[in-house]
Symmetry: C3
Subunit: 313 residues, 3 copies
């Protein structure tokens, strides 16, 4: 087995970046670095989680996050099972907690959960002996997405003193909240930017600057993270039209002219081409979009390893 450094880690669950200290955030990011090359061939096969069983408990549709966790778990030697609510006991009237406890009773070590209800992973963590990883709960947090965004920034920038713009639907974005908690703890300055209807007034209490004018903040940003407009989740009436939104808050070549030459562009995806980002920008030199996906694997390996693979003692 390949040796890994032993890091101090006290948590049994990863529910949100709000719960982690700067030192703990750094510990996860450092551990992820050890796994970075595992995504490239020749891949190392590790056995740190041999004999462990991990369940993907996704109550909301997902491709990349579910697959990323599955690959991360297998890369560490764990068994992975997928639970999808269609065709399941929940359709027979069973409660969310009972479903999870029954799955746990089969000998599961860690549950990765995505749920439309804020706090669902916290509820699970109170009822299970297994570890719980939040893979997105409502508009609350999506900690591994936050970690992989920060990891991607940290690959080429120093976080201390960096200015990061989060652009788009801040109100409904769990990715925004995880980024805000993680980035501010690690010393970066965060500016949230979107239409007034999509930026909650009290978000400033989290220590961020609030803007409604992308052109005004773009020249000050080292990094821009373009959140997706969640057509399927958004109640109508929060912005006048897609075209209007794209004109005011979309990133295109014209707008990029006022940005710093070394601007780093992130987007959690899936992106709506021509809405948040035009194709030539998404595929252009600033974009780290696909690198984020690759880094997601390393970050999730680090999280799984710290929660249930690190030897005791």
């Amino acid at each position: 087995m390949l040796t890994l450094p032993r890091v101090s880690w006290q948590h049994r669950h990863l529910l949100g970046l709000e719960d982690l200290s700067a030192a703990e955030l750094t510990a996860v990011l450092d551990m992820a670095e050890h796994f970075t090359h595992d995504a490239d061939p020749p891949r190392k096969k590790r056995n740190h989680l041999a004999g462990k069983v991990i369940v993907n408990l996704f109550f909301e549709p997902s491709t990349r996050t579910r697959m990323s966790f599955a690959l991360a778990a297998r890369r560490l030697g764990a068994e992975v099972l997928d639970f999808s609510p269609s065709g399941s006991s929940t359709s027979k009237g069973e409660t969310f907690i009972d479903t999870a406890k029954n799955i746990e009773a089969m000998g599961i070590d860690l549950v990765v959960v995505r749920h439309s209800a804020t706090g669902a992973p916290h509820l699970l963590s109170q009822h299970l002996k297994a570890s719980v990883v939040n893979a997105g709960d409502g508009a609350h947090e999506h900690p591994t997405q936050g970690l992989l965004d920060i990891f991607t920034i940290r690959q080429t920038r120093r976080l201390e003193g960096l200015t990061v713009g989060l652009v788009g639907d801040i109100a409904h974005s769990r990715v925004a909240r995880s980024n805000i908690h993680g980035l501010t703890k690690l010393g970066a300055k965060v500016i949230v930017c979107g239409p007034p209807t999509l930026v909650p007034a009290r978000i400033a209490e989290l220590g961020v600057e609030v803007s409604h004018d992308l052109d005004a903040i773009l020249p000050r940003c080292d990094v821009i993270n373009m959140l997706r407009i969640q057509f399927e989740r958004q109640r109508s009436g929060l912005f006048p039209s897609i075209t209007e939104y794209a004109r005011l808050f979309g990133l295109n070549s014209e707008r990029l002219k006022v940005a710093r030459p070394d601007l780093l562009l992130l987007a959690p995806g899936p992106i709506n081409r021509g809405v948040e980002i035009t194709p030539e920008v998404a595929d252009g030199p600033h974009s780290a979009i696909l690198r984020q996906v690759t880094n997601g694997l390393a970050v999730r390996m680090a999280v799984l390893y710290l929660l249930c693979g690190q030897p005791e003692g």
Copy 2:
């Protein structure tokens, strides 16, 4: 490879507990004991089914049974594939048997099948060279559920002379039928109890006592197995209301006062909290509900091992 005792076993399929002798039932239960600790960490990785391929062929929705079989198979070193009828050839007009024979032709050793039609697994067993395990067919049998119920009882009780009450919708319950066959063969007395509309008249021919009054039989029972009311399967009109059903046949703290102090409570799940069982009883000291789930893994490992993992000779 960890050594296991060699037991006498002649069956190629497990279609129902009606087909097994008392000695054969005991052989499965004894084998399951060897696998009991495999559900707990540190888990043993076994290779008894290395190179074997098992298919979960579920024509009815299922979470726990499908996952339990998948985990049991992997714990023994087998490959597991899931077949789900949606997105499959059956939607293109292929017959049930042709679908199964085509899957078998890919080199499959054992098929775990759940189907709404009574006898579907028997039909398969006549057409396939692979082993067939019935994971529930209509209102007929669900032998591994029966085995795990009996296994859970046997962990703390002697079956000979024990009185077991099966409560609820006996008419539509494959779990009831498997319990009746298995328990009576092993020397237990079975009382079936439910509203007259949900207890078929001829069930007494299977050697069980019939009751329609839970309060009357509860004091005589060592074990109560609370079957679930299958809202989704039941034709309307078989009982007046959920509230009325819960009042007459639900298990609650008040009713438990007339039960034996050491009453063992089973429920095959998923349970409808507040209908068959109130939450404080489901989570109370009598309940073995989650232990049943854990035992299910060991029982299914035993079944898979006996059907296709035991060395010849």
Copy 3:
């Protein structure tokens, strides 16, 4: 690791049999022979694809093809992930190419893709660094089905000079097109036969004979490949009725009387019993239908091995 012969192979993708030379077709078929026995117990476990990750990217429903690729990949030691479009990013507005590039960014080596749009695999191959295998694109090609049909013929016949009849819906059949390209390159004569509405006029340009009279060509055929009538895909009005179709183009015992005694019968499945083929013929001595399925595993192992498992140099 079991040693395999090194064959000359230049392709990174398998998009269609139209792209392969006779020598390359023979190389795949020869390699498949080495894997033939792997479908039967005792199965050899191979590690030629250890550390590789393969994704099944199926935008159309499939049972056998998806499972066959999954089993083939695992038999060679690869990890396999299933992507199904329901519950995925495509429902959130992501483009087909972005979905694939995101999956690839997780460290995927090979993508098996099925799509209703002709050319979708070619499009993918232009955008991905990973290998792409076409598992069926519109009415264009389904190369591994073509290979397994040809492999099954070659097990008992010499292809050079053989006469093969492709019967049914030629116009909408990707299986027909792959058979035509593969068989004609390997020296067989192909006769396509179906109602005029289901046989495109320009198909003769591919070097095949065209017929609309099964009884007329049957005595001349060494092999008959009965394509399925794709009820779900066909626009109405292309043939008068199922009964009429079965009478004119279905294979039954009566019609077989004019066939050669050693006629080999193939059908890509899933078959509509009583339409293309009557049950007694499908299960009769001429039929190689289930052997085709078994061979599919060996052929897909060969394809995966040649595309991403063969050592460099």
